[in-house]
């Protein structure tokens, strides 16, 4: 009895202490909050305003995107939000974008969606990353949502269709991954461009004899490398296989990386450099080829070698046609179910969604990055970029990167095991078996 009482006393003491703590800090923060009250409105008073106003046009909307950091679309996106808010008085948009490179956005989004703190609108990965959110019904089926305008999209929209037949994400721009080639170096050394598998291997052989690194890659940070070799080994049909199939072409692709490494295809320290250091070898014209995505054009041009570079599809060894591409649109605009079911936010959210996915907005965002718009077409495009856009238009088949659709742990295992395949410690088939076992 006495002991129980003691505990209770202790507990209340703790509570009192907590109050002291909170009060102490509270005074710390009140002052600056007051001074910045015009830029930031506390959460609670927001909802109060909405309740009393009862107007659909009065709402505050949180948007989370990856258009931040060095993403050239970030500035355009900010502009668009300003224009939208100017045209829709009463709607306040909070932009909580952060670069996906910072590594925290997945944690933040997942926690937000499981803690009733989700953004109204988000531009996020429509890949394995969104699977949980979709399965839990946290985002809406856009096709059957009132007021949502999905007209005017090209085939990228259809590509977003989920296995359950619904569309949860509206694409903005598409990308491709391919072989970036320094034409000047090929010409200087009298080597033919790698338009076929044989020529690709020939180019590796020839450049290996020179001071030029044939292909700038990281064998650990090897997303594009693994994907392209799997594609080359068996064409799109095998590339599309499930991991559980343990497709022989995937294993062969890994083994081919090992073979090419022995031919001297890659940098000496390929196992420890990251993608950006690998890319810098290409940018300094110390390497002739580079596997990258269409977003790499910006830094290639900045390095001053844009004129020397062109982009080619991965040459297919067997089982497909050269021209098949890894690419598509891996990100899209999602509307959260919570926002859609909230009468005070639905209208504003849908309005912002329609504004951001309008042809004009999409073209402006795509214009900043040079990516392929999901609606309309970019005019006055840099001829170098146009080569890539044509690549997509002409592609007999396009599919998403492998890591977008398989268990992340399995893909990481494949990717990080490449150095062991190179050193001969493991075979491609072995790595694939281990990766499949992780699913």
């Amino acid at each position: 009895m006495r002991r129980g009482f003691k505990k209770l006393g202790l507990l209340s003491l703790f509570m009192a202490m907590l109050l002291v703590v909170l009060a102490a800090c509270g005074t710390d923060t009140t002052e600056p909050e007051k001074t910045s009250s015009d830029t930031e409105t506390p959460k609670e008073s927001d909802s109060k305003v909405e309740e009393t106003a009862g107007e659909v046009t009065n709402a505050s909307i949180k948007v989370v995107t990856t258009m931040a950091g060095t993403d050239p679309a970030g500035a355009v996106f900010e502009e668009l939000l300003k224009e939208f808010q100017a045209a829709n008085e009463g709607i306040k948009v909070t932009n909580e974008s952060q670069s996906a490179d910072a590594g925290t956005i997945r944690t933040k989004i997942n926690t937000d969606f499981t803690s009733d703190n989700e953004p109204e609108l988000m531009f996020y990965f429509n890949t394995v990353d969104a699977e949980g959110i979709i399965k839990e019904g946290k985002v809406i089926d856009l096709e059957n949502a009132e007021g949502v305008d999905l007209s005017g999209y090209n085939s990228m929209l259809e590509q977003q269709r989920n296995a359950d037949g619904k569309i949860y994400a509206a694409p903005q721009t598409g990308f491709y991954e391919a072989l970036f080639v320094n034409e000047k170096l090929f010409a200087d050394y009298g080597i033919e461009l790698p338009t076929t598998w044989e020529l690709y291997e020939k180019a590796i052989e020839e450049f290996a004899k020179t001071d030029i690194i044939p292909v700038a890659v990281s064998t650990e940070d090897s997303y594009y490398l693994v994907e392209h070799y799997a594609l080359a080994a068996g064409g799109m049909e095998n590339y599309r296989a499930e991991l559980a199939d343990k497709n022989a072409a995937w294993a062969e692709g890994l083994d081919l990386i090992g073979q090419h490494a022995k031919m001297g295809a890659f940098p000496m320290d390929a196992a420890t450099i990251d993608l950006s250091i690998a890319a810098s070898l290409f940018q300094q014209e110390q390497a002739a080829m580079l596997f990258e995505g269409s977003w790499a054009w910006g830094s290639i041009k900045e390095a001053g070698i844009g004129e020397n570079v062109t982009v080619l599809p991965m040459p297919i060894k067997s089982g497909g046609v050269t021209g098949e591409l890894v690419g598509g649109a891996s990100q899209g605009w999602f509307i959260s179910t919570k926002a859609y079911n909230d009468d005070t936010k639905r209208d504003a959210t849908v309005r912002l969604f329609n504004f951001l996915t309008s042809e004009e907005s999409i073209l402006r965002l795509a214009g900043a990055t040079g990516q392929i718009p999901a609606k309309g077409e970019l005019t006055d495009i840099d001829p170098r970029l146009a080569v890539g856009h044509k690549l997509i238009a002409d592609a007999p088949a396009i599919d998403a990167p492998i890591n977008d659709r398989i268990n992340p742990e399995s893909f990481t295992h494949m990717r990080t095991s490449v150095p062991e395949v190179v050193s001969g410690a493991k075979t491609g088939a072995q790595v694939l078996d281990e990766a499949a076992a992780m699913e």
Partner: protein
């Protein structure tokens, strides 16, 4: 250490805020993490209870074994060299008059600069093609050397790891040496104790408690090493420099296998706690007050 009347109340009052905050925002979350180690989960959706499966996996996981051994090796270097060099430098700086402030400030610099910068710096030093070391070799007419190999990678990350945080222990030691009353030295001098004897018979024994604290910090800190390794070698080549910090980050954040990541975190706490307690026992000294 003799307690006074009414001490109980003060003990509770003084400890309460710290205990409360850390319990709610540190220990409790870690217990949640502990429970997750019994689940196969991405931490958010899809959570299946798997009992001890994650621990069974841990026992059979060759990469985890390698990472643990590497972490222990790094810990040894950190404990010996980081703490050792820091002690030596602190004693030296304490012994001089001119320029002590300068050294005290400059030695702290690497601690201040973010790991991202130190990591990039060493990446650019070790780089095979354009790195500083190889540029020097080439300009002297030698062949390029591959600095990061399966044999060398752990040492190559140990160097910046040890070097960059020496300043941290240096500052703690300097503070500790500063509290030794000057009259101790004066008295010793009268008795003819000079030079190195001063160091071994006065300075070290009097700060042995602080050395113990630093060793505990070094042991616990070494297990969490992550950033520099991740940036400089990415755990490679072929996982030869993988440490528990990088492996756990990969599992929990890149691979979305939070359940297994939590298991690795538990492993880290168990190893660290065991070693820290052993160190404490080994260095058990009577309470010294001045």
């Amino acid at each position: 250490m003799k307690n006074m009347k009414g001490d109980k109340l003060f003990i509770i009052l003084f400890l309460a805020p710290a205990v409360l905050i850390t319990s709610v925002f540190l220990y409790f979350p870690f217990f949640e993490n502990f429970f997750q180690s019994f689940y196969k989960t991405d931490g958010f959706f899809n959570s299946t209870f798997v009992g001890l499966d994650n621990y069974k996996r841990l026992l059979a996981d060759e990469i985890a074994k390698k990472a643990t051994l590497n972490s222990l090796q790094l810990m040894l270097y950190v404990a010996i060299f980081q703490v050792g060099i820091a002690l030596l430098l602190a004693v030296m700086v304490d012994s001089i008059k001119v320029g002590a402030g300068f050294f005290r400030t400059t030695f702290f610099f690497p601690v201040v600069i973010s790991g991202a910068a130190i990591g990039l710096l060493f990446t650019l030093i070790y780089n095979y093609r354009n790195g500083l070391l190889n540029e020097i070799l080439v300009s002297l007419g030698f062949e390029r050397v591959l600095w990061l190999t399966e044999q060398s990678s752990l040492y190559m990350v140990a160097i910046p790891t040890v070097w960059s945080y020496v300043g941290f222990y240096f500052v703690i030691f300097l503070t500790a040496i500063g509290k030794i009353p000057q009259d101790f030295y004066e008295a010793a001098q009268l008795e003819g104790v000079t030079g190195f004897q001063k160091l071994t018979k006065i300075t070290i024994p009097l700060i042995v408690g602080d050395i113990k604290v630093c060793l505990v910090l070094a042991i616990t800190g070494a297990l969490k090493i992550f950033e520099l390794v991740f940036i400089i070698t990415r755990g490679g080549p072929a996982r030869s420099s993988e440490v528990l910090g990088t492996y756990m980050y990969q599992k929990a954040f890149v691979d979305a296998n939070v359940g297994y990541g939590a298991t690795l975190a538990v492993l880290m706490v168990v190893i660290g706690l065991t070693l820290a307690l052993v160190t404490n026992k080994l260095m058990k000294s009577e309470d010294i007050t001045y």
